[in-house]
Subunit: 403 residues, 2 copies
C-alpha cells in the first residue's frame, strides 16, 4: 500500500484528493497496489468534509510516520513549503509538488537531496498545469539540442488578452471581469506583471540547460500597458498579442524573457486562447513541437500531481535523475537580442515625422476605429538599439515585440 500525505487542502489539494478518489481503481491497477490518502495537512478545519477524519495540523505527524511514502506539496509560497519538502525528502519520502515558486528557487537543491536519499522529487504540475511538459523535456526530447522553448504559461493573462481581443474591451474592464469569475486573484500582480510566467520559464530553462537559472535574472514585462488599439492594429497585421515566456538559444547565447509579443498566424501559439496554456519547443533535429492544454484549474493541475504520485510509486527506491545543477547559469543580456518591434504613436504630423526620422519608417498602420493613433513596424534590431531610438520618440504610446 502506498500512503500519501497532502500538504494543503486548497484548490489543488482538494483536487488531488478528488482525482485519487474518482480514479482510484484505475490508478491502483496502474501501480499494482492500494493508494491511500493517509493525511491532509491544513491550518484550517473542515467540519463535515470527509477529509476531516484524516486532517492534521502538525507536519511532524506526517514526517515521523514511517508509513508515509509520498508527500504532495500544494501549499504554494516558498518558505513553509521549502522546509516541509526538504524534511520530507531527508526523511526518505518522495515529493510531488505544483509549487512553481518552490521549484524555481530550490529545484536544484531539492533534486540533489532526492538523489542522495534515493527518492524522487517531481514537479510536473509546476509548469503548464495539466500539460505534460516537465517529463517530456526530461525523458522524451533527449536526442535534441533545444533551440527555443516558448510558452503561454499563464492562463489568467491569456484569458484577459483573448477577451480584450474578442470584445474590444480595455485591460481594466476585463481584469475586473476575470476577478469576478475567479480567473484572476484579487491581487493580480503575479499574473498580470508576468511574475508567474517568469518562474515557470526559469524552471523550463533550468531543465534545458541543466543548471540553475535564477528567475530574478529574466527580463519580465506584463500586459498592463496593452490597449484595445494595440490589439486592433495587431489584427491589421494578421497578428495576435500573447504574453510569451521564452528562452532562445542563439549562437551559444541564451536570451530569456517574459513579455507581450505580437505573433503571426503561422506561429503555433497564435491560436491558443482563453485560459489554455501551450509550450512550443524547437529542437535541432525534431523541429517544431507544441504541448497544449489546461494550464491551471483544480482538476487539470491535480491530474498532473497525481501522475507524479503514480511515477513516485512506480519508482520506489529508484531515483530518476534530472540534470539541474545548483551552479548558476548565466543568461545573456537581452539587450543584445534581435527582433522587430511594433510601435504605436500619436497620429500627428510631428509624430509621423519623428518616426520617419528616427526609424526610417515609410508605412504606417491605421484603423478607422483607432482615433488619433497609428503604428509602425521597425526593422530587425537589438533591444539596445531599439531602446536608444525609442527614447527619441516623444509621440510614443506603446511598443510591443514581434516574433
Amino acid at each position: 500500500m502506498a500512503n500519501i500525505a497532502v500538504l494543503g487542502y486548497g484548490t489543488v489539494g482538494s483536487g488531488v484528493v478528488e482525482v485519487i478518489n474518482t480514479n482510484k481503481a484505475l490508478i491502483e491497477a496502474r501501480v499494482k497496489e492500494e493508494v491511500n490518502v493517509k493525511y491532509v495537512l491544513d491550518l484550517r478545519d473542515f467540519p463535515g468534509d470527509p477529509v476531516e477524519k484524516i486532517l492534521v495540523h502538525d507536519f511532524d505527524t506526517i514526517l515521523n510516520d514511517k508509513d508515509v511514502d509520498i508527500v504532495v506539496e500544494v501549499l504554494g509560497g516558498a518558505t513553509f513549503a521549502y522546509n516541509y519538502v526538504k524534511s520530507a525528502l531527508l526523511n526518505g519520502k518522495s515529493v510531488a509538488t505544483s509549487n512553481k515558486e518552490l521549484v524555481a528557487k530550490y529545484g536544484a537543491e531539492l533534486l540533489a537531496i532526492a538523489k542522495e536519499k534515493n527518492v524522487n522529487f517531481f514537479f510536473e504540475a509546476s509548469v503548464g498545469g495539466g500539460i505534460p511538459i516537465i517529463r517530456p523535456i526530461n525523458e522524451c526530447l533527449t536526442a535534441d539540442e533545444i533551440c527555443e522553448i516558448t510558452g503561454i504559461l499563464n492562463g489568467t493573462t491569456n484569458y484577459i488578452l483573448t477577451k480584450m481581443s474578442k470584445e474590444g474591451l480595455d485591460f481594466g474592464t476585463v481584469l475586473k471581469d476575470a476577478q469576478d469569475k475567479g480567473y484572476a486573484e484579487r491581487n493580480p500582480e503575479a499574473d498580470v506583471e508576468g511574475y508567474d510566467a517568469c518562474r515557470k520559464i526559469a524552471i523550463l530553462t533550468s531543465l534545458v540547460t541543466g543548471r540553475q537559472v535564477n528567475f530574478e535574472d529574466i527580463y519580465t514585462e506584463g500586459i498592463t500597458s496593452i490597449t484595445p488599439s494595440d490589439i486592433t492594429l495587431a489584427r491589421k497585421l494578421g497578428r495576435s498579442i500573447k504574453l510569451l515566456a521564452s528562452s532562445k538559444f542563439v549562437d551559444g547565447k541564451v536570451f530569456s524573457m517574459v513579455s507581450p509579443v505580437m505573433v503571426d498566424a503561422d506561429f503555433p501559439l497564435y491560436n491558443v486562447e482563453d485560459v489554455f496554456n501551450a509550450i512550443f519547443v524547437k529542437g535541432n533535429m525534431l523541429g517544431d513541437a507544441m504541448f497544449y492544454g489546461r494550464g491551471a484549474g483544480k482538476l487539470p493541475t491535480a491530474s498532473a500531481v497525481v501522475a507524479d504520485v503514480v511515477a513516485a510509486i512506480k519508482n520506489r527506491d529508484n531515483h530518476l535523475e534530472v540534470k539541474w545543477d545548483a551552479e548558476k547559469f548565466e543568461l545573456s543580456d537581452v539587450s543584445e537580442s534581435k527582433k522587430q518591434f511594433f510601435v504605436r504613436i500619436e497620429d500627428t504630423e510631428a509624430g509621423r515625422m519623428e518616426a520617419e526620422k528616427v526609424f526610417g519608417v515609410d508605412e504606417f498602420i491605421t484603423d478607422e476605429s483607432v482615433k488619433g493613433e497609428c503604428a509602425f513596424v521597425t526593422a530587425i534590431m537589438t533591444e539596445a538599439e531599439f531602446a536608444k531610438k525609442e527614447a527619441m520618440l516623444t509621440a510614443i504610446r506603446n511598443r510591443i515585440r514581434m516574433n
Copy 2:
C-alpha cells in the same frame, strides 16, 4: 559504452545515424557514456558513404555480437522486422523501432518478451513521428481515465487536404504534386486510404485500453472521395476537413474509426496544417490536451528513435513496464456511434425534396462557386440510422462525418 545496431539505412535509418553524430556530445552527457553506432544493416551497399565501414548484410553478425546493447529497427514492413526484433529481444538486446506495422501487429508479444528478458521495447516514433505521445500516454497521463484520443496521424493526407483547401485544387492534382515533392509515395494507398493512420490509432488505443486492439477491426475510410466542393461548403460552415483517427470511450463502449471529419474551429486539431501531425487527448480530470509536431520526415522521426535509444541506455537492466496484454480488446460496433453528417447532393428540385423527405432538412448550404450541388447537415444520429437514410437518397454525392 553503448553499442547500437541500426537495421535499415533508408530515410529514417540514415536520420538515426545523423542525429547520433550531430548531437553526440549532448547525448553522451545525458547517458553518461559513449554512444557508438557499431553496425548498420542493409541489403544495399553504400560505396563512398561513411557508413560503409560499419555496414553488414547479415543480421546474425549483430545478433551474435554480445557487445550490441540496442537494436534500432527502421526497416518498415512487418515480416523481416518481426523476426529480427524478436530475436534481438530474446538475445537480451533492447529495441527501438519506428515501425507502426510491426508494433500494431506484434506490440503485445514483443513487450512480453522484453519484460521476460528484462530489456526494453520502445516505439515512440511509430506514432506521430517526432511528437512525444507514446511515452506521455504511458508515463504522464496516468492519473486519468481517457475519454478520447483523436489524431491527425498522417502527414501526407493532411498536406493534401491543406493544399486542396488553400488552392481549391482537386484530390488527383494535389496527390500528383505531393508525389512529385516526395510527400506521397508512388503507391499512395497506405496513406490516402487511411491504412497508415489506422495502424497508429490501433497502437494508441491498445496502450489506452491495455489490451490488443486489432487494426483490422477499425472502420477505415480515406480521403479519395473529398472534392473541392466539400471543402468550399465546409468553409461556409466555419469548418475544415481533416482525416481523423479516433477512439472515443463512451459509456463503457469504445468506438474507433479513421475517416475524414469536418471539424469546427473550436476543435484543437482545426488549425493543424500541411505535413504536421497532432494528437488530441481528453482525460476525465485533465480535460483537453494536445501534442503537436512533425509526424514524419527523416530527422524528426529519427529524433524520437534516438530518444528511445537514450531511454534504453538509461534503463539498462530495468524493464519499464507497459500494459498491453495480448488478450484482444473488443471494439464496439461503430454503427452504434452517434454524430451529425454533412451530406452533399445534386442541387435539383428532386434532390432537395428527397433530402427534405428522408432527413427532414429545412436548410441547404450553397456557394456560388459550387455549381449544381448543395449540402445539408443532419441531426445527430447513429451511423446505422444514417446508412439506412443515406441509401434512400438517389441524389447523394458525398457524406462526411462532423465532430
